[in-house]
Every structure is written in C-alpha cells, then in structure tokens.
C-alpha cells in the first residue's frame, strides 16, 4: 500500500483540463519530485491532494483511505501537510505564533500553551529560524518566510509533506541549505512530494521523479532516466 496515491485524477477549469487522468503514487519514506513546464498542472495536483480543490473525477488515497471529498483541515489532521507556491505566512503575527497555530490545530491532540511554545521553538531551530521567533512574519526575507511555512507545516506532525517550489527565488547557497533541510525532514521519517523547477536540486535529492505536461503525466522514473529522456527534454525546450 502506498502512503499516498491517486487514480485517474482529473480537474477541469471551464473547458480546460488542468489535470487530466493522472495516476500517481508515493511510497513511505520516498522523496518524489514533480516537474513540468509552467501551467502543466503541478500546483493544481497538489491542490487536489490537499483538498483545496475538488477533482472532477478520480480518487486520491492517503494511507489506504479515500480522501477525495474531505476538507483541507481534515486532511491535515490525518497527517498530510503542504507549503504554498506563493508564500502564505500569517504576516501580522510573530513568527513563533505561525508555528504555534500549527501545533495547536494540526493534530487531534490537545496541547498546553507552554508545551506548544516549546514545540514551536524546537521546530524553528530545526529549520534554522531560531533567532527570529518574535519578528512579525511579514518582516522576514522571502527565504525565511519559506522556511517558516515549512516549520508551520511540520508543526502539524505530517507523515507526508507536499512542498511547492520552495526553492523558487533562492540563491545558490540557499538552495543547498534547502536541499539539506529536505534530507533532514526525510530523515525524520516524513515522506516528501515536491514540485520544483530547480533541476540540480530535484535531480540530486529525489528518489523518483514524475513529469507533467498540459495536465497529463508524460514520464516517471529515476532522476537518471528522466534526465536522459528525450521526450522530457523536448517538452522543456519546446515551451
């Protein structure tokens, strides 16, 4: 049984199929990459998994359970978390409160305030934001806001984490740090499904890669296989 899988997932916007009959699966402990040209449907697929969007057809299963039709907060509590392509931190509150919210509401456990604060501190340290706990989230740099989103998602104790282009807009050093963070997260036992455009990152950190184009899955395989696939190269060059 795959920890996350989908069959025939389809989503139309008006007359256009943003995601068309996509099958996918992610195994426990894997890091799976999702790549494709802009507009291929990658973020839409994530939206369908996290229940931000409702599929027109197809099913999505999480830990064997059909989660199509559930609402985002329910899916979060079941153990699936995500970050967003356009960063959605809670700007007017301090960094630590962003994470504290995840701790309090992300699982079905009741947590005391002091305990939540401790947990949040720990997570901020894990992602590298220790010194900034009381800073309003809007005052963080883009990189740090992305890290905050990760910490907030981790606070919900996910088993599967969807990362949407966390490396967009990062410089070389930051990309390397982000890659290390991704490995660290996997080392905690969390399965990762990540959308990325930064090829070097995807190729080096993923176990397996899926390629979408115009809403359809056109290739799947190891980084090696994908890098040498003529079809994938054409799709990218042709855009």
């Amino acid at each position: 049984m795959f920890v996350l899988e989908g069959q025939g997932v389809t989503k139309y916007f008006g007359g256009l199929a943003a995601v068309s009959d996509v099958d996918f699966h992610v195994d426990q402990g894997e890091i799976v990459g999702l790549i494709g040209p802009n507009g291929a449907g990658k973020t839409t697929l994530f939206g369908l998994i996290s229940a931000a969007l409702v599929p027109n057809s197809g099913t999505i299963r999480f830990k064997g359970e059909n989660i199509t039709g559930l609402r985002p907060h329910q899916i979060c509590k079941k153990g699936l978390a995500r970050t967003f392509q356009s960063v959605k931190v809670f700007s007017d509150m301090p960094v630590i409160n962003n994470v504290v919210l995840g701790v309090h509401f992300g699982t079905s456990e009741r947590v005391k305030a002091a305990q939540a604060a401790n947990e949040a501190d720990r997570l901020l340290e894990f992602v590298g934001l220790s010194g900034r706990a009381m800073v309003p989230a809007k005052d963080l740099t883009l990189v740090n806001q992305k890290l905050l989103e990760v910490a907030r998602a981790l606070a919900t104790k996910p088993e599967v984490l969807l990362l949407d282009e966390i490396m967009a807009g990062l410089n070389s050093t930051e990309i390397t740090q982000a890659m290390e963070l991704v490995s660290k997260i996997r080392a905690q036992g969390i399965t990762i499904f990540m959308i990325e455009h930064v090829m070097k990152a995807i190729m080096s950190v993923c176990d397996r890669i899926m390629v979408l184009d115009h809403g359809k899955k056109i290739a799947e395989g190891t980084p090696q296989e994908i890098a040498t696939s003529k079809m994938v190269v054409e799709v990218y060059l042709g855009e």
């Binding site: 609402r71 809670f90 007017d92 509150m93 962003n98 992300g106």
Partner: protein, 321 residues
C-alpha cells in the same frame, strides 16, 4: 523562552494595575443606582449598549476581516423577543432567550453565507436587515392590523444593572478569546484563510461559532434595551444605524485593540447622547467626517495613534505586540 500561558499572563505585572483599576471601576459602576444621579443610569445604559454592539461586531469582523452589517438584525431580534415574550416570563429568562434566538439566526445566516467573498457578504447582511424589517412590517400590517408592539416595562435601575452585566460579559469574552488559541486562529483566518485551513483549522466552524457568540450578546442587549423604549416597531427595532454606528466606533477606536474598540464606543456614545437632541445633524455630520478621516488616515484608529505616540516617546521599549 516565549511565555504564552495564561498562568504566566496572570503573573505578569503589566496586567495587575489596570486589572485593579478596572475592578474598582466596576464596583463604583455597580453601586451607581444607589448613590448616583438619576439621569446617569439612563445615560450609561445607552453607552453600555454601544459597547456591547461594538465589541460584538469586532469579535467577528475584526479577525475575519469580513464586514458584517447584521448587527442590527441580531439586536432587533432581541428587541422583538422582549416584545413578544417579555410579559410572560421573568426578565432573566427573556434576555437569555433573546440572546439565544439571535445566536440561532447567526448560525443559520453564517452557515449559508460565510463563503461569500468580501463585499458580497457585507451587502448580503445589509439586505438581510432590510428583508427582515420589511417582512415583519408587512406581516404586522397585513395580519395583526397594527404596526409595532408594546414591551413590558422594567425600571431603569434593573435595566442598568443588566446592561452592566452584559457589557462586562461581552468584553470579558472578547478579551479571553483574543488571548486564546482560538483568537489566534481567527486572526490567521483573516490573514490567510486557505493556509489556516491547511494547518488543521476548521475555518467554517470557527467563523460561524464566533458569529453566533457575538450575536448572543447583541440579542441579549436588545432584549434589555427594548424594555426601556416600551413601544417598538420594525423600523425602530431593525434600524440600520445599529449596524453602521458600531462599525464607525470600532474603526475610529482601532479594531486591533480591545481598549481602542471600547474607547471608540464610549466616546461616540457620549457624543451622541449630548448632541442628538439639539444638534442631530451636526452629530451625524461629525460621524461621517470621523469615519472618512479614520479610514483614510488612521488605519489603526485611535489605539494606533496612541501606540505610535507611546513608541515615539518611550523609545519603543513599552510597545506590546
């Protein structure tokens, strides 16, 4: 180490002195009927009413950033409950039912409409007010033959004490919710609703709940105030001023801080009481000007101005986030 617990807040000195002042103030207010001038009781009841409506409005519209104009609906339901039931049951029960009826209405309206975005929600609440007002009016004209009803009469001191109690409960509830994880969650919903949903917050449940809680206090206040007016009709009960005025008071006072909200209510309620009989048009004119000035130049209201002033004069040391 970040101290966020209730225990640590209680222990922290910065709440001790204001807390004592408030307690003393409350005792004085409670004793007013016995030794204060007669008119003050009536005067203060109205001010309390505005504090309840304004605080209630902020409870929902503050964090969620959805401007509700349904305040008058909930207030009016309380008024009508008093008119219909007041003669048949003890005051306390009637007030509670008034509050509950408004809550139920809020639950209904909330679950139907909270997914409406931005202005749509606002104009919906406004349309609802007009619908209920005209529907009840039509009903009364067509079926009962008369317009309006008489309300049971209650003495001014009792009204005053009830309003004091409701005010304290409203402000206390607002304060406690703000400080709790639910208050934080509500704030996050207002800032990034989608992200909030994705970290496990049941957005619909939270919004509808806080809507219903705020409606309870508005309805209870309506039930009490109705007994002062003794005769009410749909146009008095569902008067749009009770929807507009709390919004102005809150914006002027500063939506972000409870102290600002309450101050805004007190200032304008006081102004209204003084000006409304002799200079009603000047009062409303000032109302409008303050509204425009606040929206254009004072995004954080009076509270924001005070905060900035304190930050500038104390070098930022005492600015609380």
């Amino acid at each position: 180490m970040i101290q966020l617990s209730w225990a640590s807040i209680r222990a922290s000195k910065s709440y001790l002195i204001p807390g004592i002042i408030l307690l003393v103030g409350l005792i004085v207010l409670a004793g007013l009927p016995s030794f204060g001038p007669k008119y003050s009781v009536i005067f203060l009841s109205t001010i309390f009413m505005y504090i309840v409506l304004t605080t209630g409005w902020v409870m929902f519209s503050g964090p969620t950033r959805q401007i509700s104009l349904a305040t008058a609906v909930f207030f009016g339901i309380g008024i009508y409950i008093a008119a219909i039931l007041g003669k048949h049951m003890p005051l306390l029960v009637m007030v509670l039912i008034g509050g509950l009826a408004s809550s139920v209405m809020a639950l209904l309206v909330g679950s139907l409409t909270l997914r409406l975005k931005g202005v749509y929600f606002t104009i919906f609440t406004f349309g609802l007010l007009e619908l209920i007002k005209n529907a009840i009016n039509w009903y009364e004209v067509t079926f009962t033959g008369t317009r309006g009803r008489f309300v049971v009469v209650v003495d001014n001191n009792t009204i005053y004490l009830y309003m004091l109690a409701i005010t304290v409960l409203t402000v206390l509830t607002a304060f406690l919710i703000r400080r709790s994880k639910y208050g934080l969650a509500l704030q996050s919903i207002g800032e990034q609703e989608e992200a909030a949903a994705h970290i496990g917050i049941n957005v619909t449940l939270m919004k509808v709940s806080i809507f219903a809680i705020s409606a309870f206090f508005m309805g209870a206040a309506g039930a009490v105030m109705a007994t002062r007016w003794t005769y009410i009709d749909p146009f008095m009960a569902f008067n749009m001023n009770y929807s507009f005025t709390p919004v102005l008071m809150a914006i002027f006072g500063g939506v972000g801080q409870l102290g600002g909200v309450v101050s805004g209510a007190i200032i304008f309620a006081y102004l209204e009481q003084i000006l409304i009989t002799k200079y009603p048009f000047y009062y409303m004119l000032v109302f409008g000007i303050v509204m425009v000035v606040s929206v254009l130049f004072l995004p954080n209201g009076l509270a924001g101005v005070v905060k900035n002033w304190r930050a500038r004069t104390t070098g930022g040391r005492y600015v609380r986030t």
